[in-house]
Symmetry: C2
Subunit: 415 residues, 2 copies
């Protein structure tokens, strides 16, 4: 039997005990996990050095190596993240609804753990700890399958975390790392119906597409974001510039950054050159439609393929539109229903945009970069869901729960 | 291009208008739909006769033909079902959460339609109307793909409903019937990511398994139920008998009926013969373990395969267990996490059962047959979810909605 299946089964054996834990017991485990990370940091960093050296020898880019790298400070920050999860309210056990039927049945709907959560991700060892902490806080067992580039780091992190669980009420088997980091192990996980209750992919577009296309286990899709900012005719210039620049350059590599700027023709007529200069000073390459290039000669021509691309880079599409309808149509065609923004002083247009745009998060006069569990005040985030079922947008702890109905009677039968 | 894809695209063109409808406009459409069904009943019944005759010529069983059959009374009942949906509260637009962040961002989470819902089902023409009504009430477009055995009925029903929508604010294209009832059309629907937001299968185990195994579109799994009733040592005999009989025979063909009766050895020692006689009088075949057969000679031997079978028939497994732990272990091994019941006068055992059994609905002293949207007071039901994501148990109108975040700022950017 394969490692992935074995470990999913092992995780399943922990769910009954996890379901019965108190919040205090789970928090105690999280504190032990945080301490163990710091106490074992030399071993973890030694493993990380192996990963980094193998990656460098294999030609991994410096930016990817930087995401992979662990040092004392980063390990302390990751441990601190676990400690912050302790302070969050535990959603498990919450009564969502309670009512009595005319026949006397008393029905309650409660939040319960999902069961066994599979996480498939890439070479970011912080995800190993974050996901483990959020899953255990919500009473879930977790099967982690990280990328091969971080394998030695992940093995040592999980060994430290599992070791710490031995001193807690959380069964060690609640936390599993699949060490076979081949594509085959990921693909096998995708079919473990009955052993995994959900798979959450965390990573780039190719990873997520593979999960969505091949999973028979339910998936919470995360990540892809082609986000737009629409600058309306009445937008305040300074606000529009600040929001658009922030949405593009504050962190271009993430899913809630802007890929396309839509500008009302009236605003473009007055301000496009100045706005384009601001992007040029920020080293942003512009790809623009004909109307925009008429004013910004250095921009290159934007194609439909550009409008459909998530650059995650210092590249921006610019398109001039005649009215709000044209902006809405562009977003409906090219958007990925992640985060969309209108900058306007016109309340009716703002309301229409907020109502009509179909996306996880729609903004009036604020940067799309705020679509984030921490920025929303959830205190933690297992990802940003881009699907419409179960959870949409930033997912806090409740997204890692299911529900069950508890019904108390005194002999009722159905007539 | 195929019919299924074309109709999913057509349904998608209706979503923007659907999203902007008022509750009154949607209710008006539902009333028109109900009237149109009744007004066109002769045409619909003429189509149904064609289906029935083709089915009978093809050797379809009388019980399946009965599910397929429409007459004046049944059409009136189906129309009445639509009228009852009018009275239900519209979940769309509901504010689920509203909060302000320290930076002044005002964040609201709202209920919105899912978008385009695909329903794949068998030869029950009432599902055509029920699903259309529930989807339209929640502002969703719907692509229906019913079984070939009901095709002529479904075509005439949908023609009547679409005709009635022409007099309403609901776009006719919101309601689509895929007339190609081949397996290929269903399998194509399963891959229409980006065109269908969710697929809900309604039907037997084979249909549901095909959907779960082949869909890349998110699925809400419904239906399969191997439900247990555990009669504890302290159970009241009359209550236990009434609940167990009701769970088995009130309607054996449905997912919330009982397949296996677990009996504490003490209760079995006192009452098993009498209880078995009650099932015999109700024409229920018993398949039992050795301990039960020692007392009930006419029962045949139960195998692990029997324990894992959803009979949907007048057949019942009976197993004697030594204690609650053994009952919980049996349910964990063979249950499908649908509906489970304990009959007991021991409050501690009841509480433990309600806490520890992992199922959509767990009962103390009431029949599992109550797991049903109408019985729960939801007024309607699109199905009973047996998965843990999005919705679990009976699904009322909110299960047909998604959410979105609406964020209002005054120039906020992320630091």
């Amino acid at each position: 039997m394969s490692e992935a299946r074995n470990k999913a089964i092992a995780a399943g054996t922990a769910t009954a005990a996890l379901n019965n834990l108190t919040t205090a017991q789970k928090n105690e485990a999280l504190a032990l996990m945080a301490d163990a990370l710091v106490a074992n940091r030399d071993d973890i960093i030694a493993g990380n050095v192996i990963d980094i050296e193998r990656g460098r020898a294999g030609g991994t880019s410096e930016s990817l190596l930087d995401r992979l790298r662990l040092d004392d400070k980063r390990i302390e920050a990751i441990a601190q993240g676990l400690r912050e999860v302790i302070a969050l309210p535990d959603p498990v056990g919450e009564t969502i609804a309670a009512f009595e039927r005319p026949n006397g049945l008393r029905i309650e709907q409660l939040r319960v753990p999902i069961g066994v959560v599979g996480i498939i991700y890439e070479a970011r060892p912080n995800v190993t700890v974050d996901a483990a902490g959020l899953c255990l806080k919500t009473g879930n067992a977790v099967v982690l399958r990280g990328g091969s580039a971080a394998l030695e780091s992940n093995k040592r992190i999980v060994a430290a975390l599992r070791g710490s669980l031995r001193q807690s009420a959380v069964p060690e088997d609640a936390l599993q790392l699949v060490e076979d980091a081949s594509r085959a192990s990921a693909n096998e996980m995708l079919k473990l119906n009955g052993l995994l209750d959900v798979i959450i992919p965390r990573g780039g577009a190719a990873l997520i597409r593979n999960v969505v296309e091949n999973a028979t286990v339910p998936v919470i899709e995360t990540g892809a974001g082609i986000c737009h900012t629409y600058v309306d005719a009445t937008a305040d210039y300074d606000m529009a510039e600040a929001i658009a620049l922030n949405a593009k350059i504050q962190r271009p590599s993430v899913c809630n950054s802007m890929e396309t700027l839509l500008i009302h023709a009236d605003f473009a007529g007055k301000h496009l050159e100045r706005l384009a200069d601001s992007f040029r000073r920020a080293s942003v390459e512009l790809r623009a439609d004909a109307a925009a290039r008429a004013r910004v000669s250095w921009a290159i021509e934007a194609t439909d393929e550009d409008y459909a691309t998530e650059y995650n880079d210092f590249i921006l599409n610019v398109r001039v539109v005649g009215d709000l309808d044209e902006a809405l149509a562009h977003i409906a065609r090219f958007g990925t229903k992640h985060s969309e923004c209108i900058v306007t002083e016109d309340q009716a247009n703002a309301d229409r945009f907020l109502q009509e745009v179909d996306a996880a998060a729609v903004y009036h006069n604020a940067s799309t970069r705020f679509t984030d569990g921490f920025e929303f005040g959830f205190g933690a985030e297992i990802g940003i869901s881009t699907q419409k079922l179960h959870a949409r947008g930033p997912m806090g702890l409740p997204a890692l729960t299911s529900t069950k109905y508890r019904i108390r009677g005194n002999g009722q039968t159905r007539g």
